[in-house]
Symmetry: C2
Subunit: 465 residues, 2 copies
């Protein structure tokens, strides 16, 4: 029995809505009581009850399927409303503009390998490092991460170490669930990928400390330290400090610190992340982290600006490569971004507009999960203060089935398992929900269908159908 049905029953039984106003804490108590004790908690149901629920869900599902919908919650793509927020950036330059930046160079021409000064300065603030540690890239931080790993594959980042290509049993740590495209890069380069469980404070640091201390073939770890993909977890101060104080057996172990959602809050109670670079300096470990970010989810995913930062030692090796790889990235787009925002504070102001668009979308997702799945006891999910995803663990062994059911009913989700290395979720339970792209009305429908599918798959599983 759902809380809603309970209240309806109670009302039918004579309780008026007016006499039934409790303070929120009481409501929450009643709600969790009913969730735990509900006879409709699938895990406590009889086979008959489940069979009835299954038939009812199946009917609803078939109705939805018949509509021939085409909805997409697969990727962390900004929606049209978000893209429109940045259209003004296209008015920054016209044929009449001045094209000389702070370096005194015509930005239309070749030159300035590490990016124009004003852009390095702004991204230095985003990443919490000096501008001299920053290098600006093209439109994709993923590309810079790929190039960074590529670099270390064929050139040692530390003199005396082997290039990673030569390390036959090379390994990489992968906090999981995590970002599929991270795992894709180390998969492409033949690393054995070791999943590290995530906790509410970030990856399991006990496990990481022990692994890296004893195995010099472990060469790095993928991190999305703030509003992690997909869980929206922000690493605790202690986690950041423990990262900064790692003592890896491999001298060329590197932390890939992908701060993709560094200023991407969606609530009024945003998380804060300790500055990894400062902590590493304190610990005498300045060469450990390599930081990344981009404006893909600030301006345009297809036409933004990406940046990386690292110690002087690291950047020397990367820049030697970049020096052969390119003459300069798109300086016009760099200056376009700087002039559009004015400065870092302008960028933060701009993010408030995204927040205003995204908050209702996350509410749609979280409300649907709370009203539909919480009562039947078959899911656990995160309630992030920022980022791009809600991560849900559906009933163990049903994630693939849920994604398949959704797909057949016209709702595309991120593939089940995608959040784990090799695409293998050992429990087959994690699904990444990406609420940003669909318009709100479509998102409501998509979430209705998702919840039906999650419940339907759970019934099937429990009934061993």
């Amino acid at each position: 029995m759902s809380l809603f049905s309970f209240c309806q029953n109670a009302e039918n039984a004579g309780f008026s809505k007016k006499t039934c106003i409790f303070p929120p804490v009481v409501i929450e108590y009643i709600r969790s009581f009913f969730i735990k004790e509900s006879i409709m908690n699938y895990l406590n149901c009889s086979a008959e009850e489940l069979e009835r629920e299954y038939q009812s869900l199946k009917n609803k599902y078939d109705e939805e399927k018949a509509k021939g919908l085409n909805l997409n919650m697969a990727r962390g793509k900004p929606g049209k409303e978000q893209l429109d927020l940045s259209n003004g950036i296209l008015d920054v330059f016209t044929s009449e503009s001045n094209f000389i930046g702070d370096d005194g160079v015509d930005i239309r021409n070749y030159g300035i390998l590490d990016g124009i000064y004003e852009c390095r300065k702004m991204f230095g603030q985003v990443l919490g490092v000096d501008s001299e540690n920053v290098m600006i890239g093209g439109n994709s931080s993923l590309n810079m991460m790929f190039d960074t790993i590529s670099c270390m594959m064929t050139k040692p980042i530390v003199e005396g170490c082997d290039a990673w290509y030569k390390v036959e049993n090379r390994k990489f740590l992968c906090p999981s669930p995590g970002y599929d495209r991270h795992f894709g890069i180390t998969g492409y380069y033949g690393f054995e990928m070791i999943p590290i469980p995530m906790t509410e404070n970030g990856p399991d640091m006990d496990m990481i400390e022990e692994l890296v201390a004893n195995d010099d073939s472990i060469k790095g770890i993928w991190c999305v330290p703030k509003y992690s993909n997909p869980q929206g977890i922000t690493y605790s101060d202690e986690t950041v400090r423990r990262f900064a104080n790692l003592k890896p057996a491999a001298k060329d172990f590197r932390i890939i610190w992908d701060n993709a959602y560094c200023i991407h809050d969606i609530t009024d109670t945003p998380d804060s992340l300790l500055n990894i670079y400062d902590e590493c300096k304190k610990a005498g470990n300045e060469d450990l982290p390599i930081l990344f970010c981009s404006t893909s989810k600030i301006t345009f995913p297809g036409a933004g600006v990406a940046a990386m930062a690292a110690s002087k030692n690291n950047m020397k090796v990367f820049k030697e490569r970049y020096n052969y790889q390119i003459i300069s990235y798109d300086k016009m787009n760099m200056l376009r971004h700087v002039q559009y925002f004015g400065d870092y504070n302008g960028m933060l102001e701009h993010m408030k507009k995204h927040k205003a668009v995204l908050k209702p979308k996350f509410d749609i997702v979280l409300n649907a999960l709370a009203s539909e799945l919480e009562p039947v006891g078959i899911g656990e999910w995160t309630k992030p203060n920022g980022g791009y995803f809600v991560s849900i663990d559906v009933l163990e062994g049903t994630a693939k089935r849920v994604v398949q059911l959704c797909k057949e009913a016209g709702v595309v989700l991120t593939g089940a398992g995608a959040t784990y290395p090799y695409g293998k979720d050992p429990k087959d339970s994690n699904i990444r929900l990406a609420p940003t792209f669909p318009p709100n009305d479509e998102l409501v429908t998509a979430m209705e269908i998702f919840c039906i599918c999650a419940k339907l798959a759970a019934c099937e599983k429990l009934l061993q159908k």
Copy 2:
């Protein structure tokens, strides 16, 4: 005696200019007669004559040096006047524009790994291939070439072959003089680079055919087939056909066909280049070439669009990598370029404007060489119909000295030797002149100084100073 002095003497001796109008062919005959027979041809001079010339040049040089100039003919950079030609591209998009391209995708967002259709179509015409063989990149074809070599370093382009990293004695053919940044890439990746002499028809094909047929550790060759860098030579039809019919011992041998100057004519008698891709298909060698081009010298070097093309087999391997490397390159800049030009013909029309700017610059260089160096017999240079450079061979053993003298007098040239692998010009005679960047008045001065330096260095050498 220079032709000018001869004419002046003749005039003083009673010949009026009016009575002295000969058809061009006669003028040319007289000119070459005087060049061959000139008593001032350094190679025929007495030590005394040379010493007088040396002193006179030294005085001129010191005068120029005292001016403290700061001129640059080092890189193939478009000048301001050329950059201004494309400013209109910045008016293509405003905040009010429509951002849906032919693929039906919002170009501001993620997606379309190989680039938007209309852009692939346009670059297909530039490269002479079907749009389906084209992939669009960021702002740099050098970057795409680097990534292409990087790809083959760690993944075999042909199943069963070793990744090049594993081939310890890997080699690459380098037509020389050539493009220093090409050699930089294969140098970075530890290839032994084998210089291939250039002829007026392109690289020495006899040598190439023999080398590749007998050594399977030779993995590729760098080519700038039209208006080659630095000589401005366009490969003859026979050369292209011989390339297309190569039978390399290495199954994974690839021709890097950098068509950087494919539509970059500077005279009214442009060269034409046979379509390598068509010829390779005819020869059953479709997988042999990988083609590159960009708009760096069409719109903006700092904010253009690059493209590559290759067979389906090759692209499958490259795209697998790109799929992990990036989600999509800057589609907004792709559509900006397509809309600005309208189509390929619009691009060709645009190139006529560049030609109008560049022709006078090349004339300044060629006229200076003809009037100053030809008479004294110490240089040989190319007279290209397009491209970005004039390549000159100064007196053997003096190129480094000429570049140094120029530098000390405030004229920066491409480093001597840069046009050869490892920066080693065996004859120390080749210098690349890049006339495009300086304003015309500066170019005149720079060429005056260059000619003084070339002559001064020659006198020093001949006098064994």
